[in-house]
Amino acid sequence: MKLTPIFSRRTLLGGVAALIVLACSSPLFAQEEPQRGGTLVMASTQKPRHLNAAVQSGIATAVPAAQIFATLLRYGEDFTPQPYLAESWEFSPDNKVLTLKLRQGATFHDGKPITSEDVIWSLNVVKDNHPFSSMLEPVEAFEAPDPQTVVIRMKTPHPAILLALSSALTPILPKHVFDDGQDIKSNPKNNLPVGSGPFKVTKFEPGQYIVLERYDGFFLEGKPYLDSIVIRQYQDANSAVLAMESGEAQLYPLLDSTRLIRRLEKAQGMGLTDKGYAGIGPINWLAFNTKNPALSDVRVRQAIGYAIDRNFVTKALHAGLSKPAIEPVVESSPFFTEDVARYDFDLDKAKALLTEAGYGDGGKKLELQIDYIPDIEEQQRAVAEYVKAALAKIGITVSVRASPDFPTWAQRISNYDFDMTMDQVFNWGDPVIGVNRTYLCSNIREGIIWSNTQQYCNENVDKLLNEAGVEADQARRKDLYAQAFKQITDDIPIHYINEVPYHTVYNQAVQNPPISIWGPMGPMDEVWLKQ
């Protein structure tokens, strides 16, 4: 490196002063002036049906929709809500009324102003159509007393509402465009919607690519930094990773193959992070059909729990990249608790419990079948094979049943045609949205995948979960969930194995990669490319 003139010409004192200046400014160095412009190519293996996230949940639609549509609130790296389209908000003393003030001068991509009318219309669309009905279920009325104010009245306190108003869940749609008398779920405008977010969608070729271009009238001054984002859909993780390696793509979120993650760690000029998935909260678990004659005995389920070594899965199968999961929420959730039944690997306990239940050595022979979600190799199939081997050690014969594709698996599980199955379920930020559905007695619904397909029912758990859902005090709410999770893990309708090791891979030119709790499902208005 060449010496700068400052050192060669000035006195020693001057040099020291310069050093001090440099040292003081160095924390700022990390946040250097963002550069504008450029196209970011994002690789994806997700294929969205359409782009209207108000009526279609799921990652595939949420990633582009978070760019196209603004939401009332947004989140950073922790679970603290931040202003977005709403610049301020407050709850009434009884926590049943939430009043939000909208930003002045915000416009849709067609230039029309975003008013409280649009907001309450959008919230009603979400309430009526969104598959996660628990998000806005306690809402009695949305009101728009003036163009900048939105009032949400609820039957009960509903602390999950703030999260529900953030990225990926309740996009703000232009009423004047979508309120055209057509069924919103099949409205052709969902393919190229007029949005309210940092980027407008200009092209959408299903199964191929989505082109998003900077919206110059975006309500956050100076944002977004990028000129455009192209989301390219690849057939599988292998080809997406090849595209990253060849420089064809610069950002690839949601990679869960530890083999590919390890390969990219060694690649030149590539950054990797596991941040950005606290909101999704993806857990890989083993679910039991609690109506199976053998598995209806809690001791058998506990025995299976003790016989499975999570460390083997996370360290050997997942190359040390996945974290063990021990309860219904992920470790980064604000409701995570240490005080649950963990079922740490203990073959003696497992054998003892099994014998007590009348199986194992000298008892009845136990044969079980295990299913898994196809096409998720390391997280699902490999773990299912391991469960087979692990349970053989305590005398349970397990056969692994493959499903040719997702619908086959979904039909088997949702119609209770299974003994045990590997499954992957997301927390979706708040237990009311992503956790309750797996355990509530009222959600045992035949034919619905990711409902309570374990057919587990414990009234105490129902009571605790429901109380926690309407508890406005965060500390008390946390305590109620802790009690519920303790009870659930004691009953073990599900044996939690590991958190899905989602990683975001980015070319080193990409600055501020998406690492908020919603990660790629959050707005990428602050991402920029270093020339």
Binding site: V41, R49, G207, Q235, A243, P407, I448
Partner: protein, 323 residues
Amino acid sequence: MAYRILRQLLYAAALILAVLVLNFLLIQLAPGDPAEVIAGEMGGANAEVMAAIRQQYGLDKPILTQLGLYLGRALQGDLGTSYFYNRPVVELILSRLGPTLLLVTAALAFALIVGTRLGVMAARKPRGIASTLVTVLSLVGYSAPVFWTGLMLVILFAAKIPLFPVAGMINIVKQGGPLVRALDIAHHLVLPALTLGLVYLAQYSRLTRASMLEVLGADYIRTARAKGVSERRVLNHHAFRNALLPVVTVAGMQFGAIISGAVLVETVFSWPGLGTLAFQSILARDYPTVLGILFFSTLLVIIANLLTDFVSRLLDPRLAKGH
């Protein structure tokens, strides 16, 4: 002649109808339905949403009613709306038809031109090194599964030596006029066309070789040689044209097989054709799209067969005089 054409068209119509009905019934045998796939895509759903999806697409009606409704609409040229992509099937298919035709034509042209030339070369000296090389090459080309060949080519020529793009048909980021775009597409086309072409190249070279050897033993070839016609003219003019006939017949008959081969190749290379669409639609239980693709493939095969007939007549006028 007119009667013949009419009869062929009638056969074609009956065939298409049979294909539609059979496919409709076959696809019902696959476990799971679109509502489950859509629910999976949405990260879970409730009973109301599932019922709404089934009702929206008429999946709550008896199968025969669904079949009747489908056929009724199909006869009017309406292939329905894709359950998964929520847009007209015809629109989806037409946007994918071009890339598939491009890939198949390129692969077929490559296989025919290079394959027949290699075959001729091998037939000249049936026991020479060239002949052995062609035999080995065609054996390998024919036995290796296309997806494997495809992956190997990607690893070699896109990852290790980055000569060609990994996947896709166009570089969306690249700006430029029609010529730049055409070159870009050609650049993307090389590996998939090569992959798909290699299988058929193997077959055509073997077929040409065998056929040439047979023709070269015929009396008129000996006559030609006795007349003092140059060896090159004997090979290219007298022998090759006659030897080509079985190749054309086989190539035409294989058109359907090539389209199904394209499914694999397109999947490996994310080529945005009918093959990838078919693959995705089957996984998504998107019945109207799958049926639409099968319908279009049937049409393509029928058209290809008619064309083969026509070309054979050109090559061998005796065929036209029969009947």
